[in-house]
């Protein structure tokens, strides 16, 4: 419950500003790849942030969040390819459809809590995946749907993606500080106490699930419009797992969590660039190692790293033995 304008937030904003200017640093086609990377990272931030609402704030640990992402993607594609409608109609349809499934998930969560809820989210994702594979007339099965759209400058996608990530993150931060956010964390922290303090648990779980579903669907629609294809891989557990990993490594339940964590997505591209595409899957193994290290030493993620104290310890490690204790001690003690 702190103020918005903290020194840390200001410093981070200044550090992020150069990213916004990427399209102007490069001449001609050279900007396309960095812009693509930023678009992917920003989309992951937005998507992970919606998972963060459901699982980080409300404590409903979902392993099937890609469901809503895919619903957004397929709605857009089906509306455009099969029905010849405006993409915004597809976007709206995706939001409505996801809200319905979010409601369904909320209803499930009133009966199933903890692991049982988590398993039901996997089941939901697999059901939707089966539909996407089998309902060939609409979804084109494994081939997926290819969208034809007018040529749009990548710079537009670049700024829309960043705008989306910023908007969803600010929404998250606002939500966390609002009455509803307090209700969500009360449910996460202690469901019995929340009930006894008058929190209508089923209602707020459902609201949380609907909000997360609708926003995830918007991200899905955006990505589909950008990469111009949607296929059952959208429902692969890999996507759900990746957003979970980046959020946990960044810090679950914090607005900055998915933002820090999503930078890790670049790791994969970095490996692809330096070692070649053959080694790209190595990134997944590295995510795993990073996740384990964080679980062991910083279970609350990157956001919980206290720079002042860490520097103090680093200095201590480099100074002669007798000074170690003094340097490692936090200030004022």
């Amino acid at each position: 419950m702190q103020n918005w304008i903290t020194p840390k937030n200001i410093v981070v904003c200044i550090l992020i500003t150069p990213v916004l200017l990427i399209p102007f640093f490069y001449k001609g086609g050279a900007a396309l790849l960095p812009m693509h990377l930023v678009i992917m990272v920003a989309s992951y931030i937005a998507l992970a942030q919606t998972w963060n609402i459901l699982s980080g704030l409300t404590g409903m640990f979902s392993l099937g969040h890609a469901t809503f992402y895919a619903l957004g993607g397929y709605s857009l594609a089906v509306a455009m390819v099969k029905l010849g409608l405006n993409p915004f109609v597809g976007l709206a349809a995706g939001i409505v459809l996801s809200a319905f499934f979010g409601l369904l998930l909320g209803a499930i969560s009133s009966r199933l809590t903890g692991f049982f809820f988590t398993i039901s989210t996997i089941a939901l994702a697999q059901v939707i995946r089966t539909v996407a594979m089998q309902w060939t007339p609409v979804t084109n099965s494994i081939t997926g749907l290819k969208i034809f759209r007018p040529i749009v400058s990548r710079m537009v996608f670049f700024y829309v993606a960043i705008g989306l990530a910023v908007a969803v993150s600010i929404f998250f931060a606002y939500l966390r500080r609002s009455r509803m956010g307090s209700m969500f964390v009360a449910i996460r922290e202690n469901i019995h106490l929340a009930r006894s303090l008058g929190v209508d648990v089923v209602r707020y779980k459902t609201i949380s699930s609907i909000i997360a579903a609708m926003l995830a669907s918007v991200v899905g629609s955006f990505i589909t419009y950008y990469i111009q294809v949607v296929d059952p891989n959208y429902l692969s557990p890999l996507i759900s797992e990746k957003i979970i990993m980046v959020t946990i490594i960044g810090g679950m339940g914090y607005a900055w969590g998915p933002i820090w964590g999503s930078v890790l997505i670049l790791l994969e591209e970095f490996i692809r660039g330096t070692l070649g595409a053959r080694y790209a899957p190595l990134a997944t193994a590295l995510y795993g190692v990073i996740l384990i290290v964080f679980m062991l030493f910083r279970p609350n993620g990157i956001v919980s790293i206290n720079l002042k104290r860490s520097f103090g310890m680093a200095i201590a490690a480099l100074t002669p033995a007798k000074n170690i204790e003094a340097a490692a001690r936090p200030e004022g003690k």
């Binding site: 307090s182 209700m183 202690n190 009930r195 006894s196 303090l197 008058g198 929190v199």
Partner: protein, 241 residues
């Protein structure tokens, strides 16, 4: 009648936790509920709070039937509780924990904040608003739990062993606080307690539960003269002598 429990029975398989329990309370009374371990006191509290459904019987609060209501509705009706093992929001700070209680009565954030700050000062936690619950002592945790319950503006407050695990200074402070709440906020109390000093100093009436049944209802100072109570706590032999 302000608060009335009528013929509550709850069975867990072959075990009868509450058997035809009836009790009543007037407004602004402090009533104790005592009994040996396993007598069914906490079960009765859980039934009042709506966490557990009774097999039969009814609970009426200011003429309103509570037995079918959800826990959050029971709280809105005006009953709050603290738990036997302090229940808190471990990763939240004191202010937000209390505000969550205050949100029960208001949709407005600044109103909730004001109410929470007022109550935090009232229960002597001022200065600890931004401390995380995890970092608090047992005594402070119990006070936070109490403050959060108070923030829901209850007319009836159920305290389940609020005084257990505190040292004697803390017990006296907590007794003073309870009496102050009773005096200034006009709250009615139903208290489960094992610390006999507390029962003696604040309760006006006491119900004694044993094997799920109410075996006595009397003034605290009459407890030791009641043969049934002595037998329940100390066993047969003492009854004979």
């Amino acid at each position: 009648m302000f608060f009335e429990i009528d013929g509550i029975t709850k069975r867990y398989g072959g075990l009868v936790a509450n058997s035809d329990v009836s009790l009543h309370m007037n407004q602004h009374e402090i009533v104790g509920l005592i009994g040996p371990n396993g007598a069914g006191k906490s079960t009765l509290f859980q039934i009042i709070d709506g966490f557990v459904r009774p097999d039969s019987g009814s609970i009426r609060f200011k003429g309103k039937e509570l037995t079918k209501l959800r826990t959050s509705r029971i709280n809105k009706a005006g009953i709050a509780c603290t738990f036997q093992h302090a229940q808190l929001f471990p990763r939240l700070d004191v202010l937000e924990s209390v505000m969550i209680g205050a949100y029960c009565r208001t949709m407005n954030k600044s109103a909730a904040r004001q109410e929470a700050e007022k109550l935090i000062a009232f229960t002597g936690l001022a200065g600890k608003e931004s401390t995380l619950i995890d970092k608090l002592t047992m005594f402070d945790r119990k006070r936070v739990e109490l403050t959060a319950a108070l923030a829901t503006q209850p007319e009836l407050l159920l305290l389940d062993e609020l005084f257990a695990g505190l040292n004697s200074t803390e017990v006296s402070e907590m007794v003073d606080l309870t009496l102050q709440i009773h005096r200034e906020l006009k709250t009615t109390f139903l208290i489960i307690e094992h610390v006999i000093k507390v029962i003696m100093s604040i309760c006006e009436r006491v119900y004694v539960l044993d094997y799920g049944k109410v075996i006595a209802e009397c003034k605290p100072n009459e407890l030791s003269k009641n043969p049934l109570v002595v037998k329940a706590y100390l066993g047969e032999e003492y009854d004979a002598s």
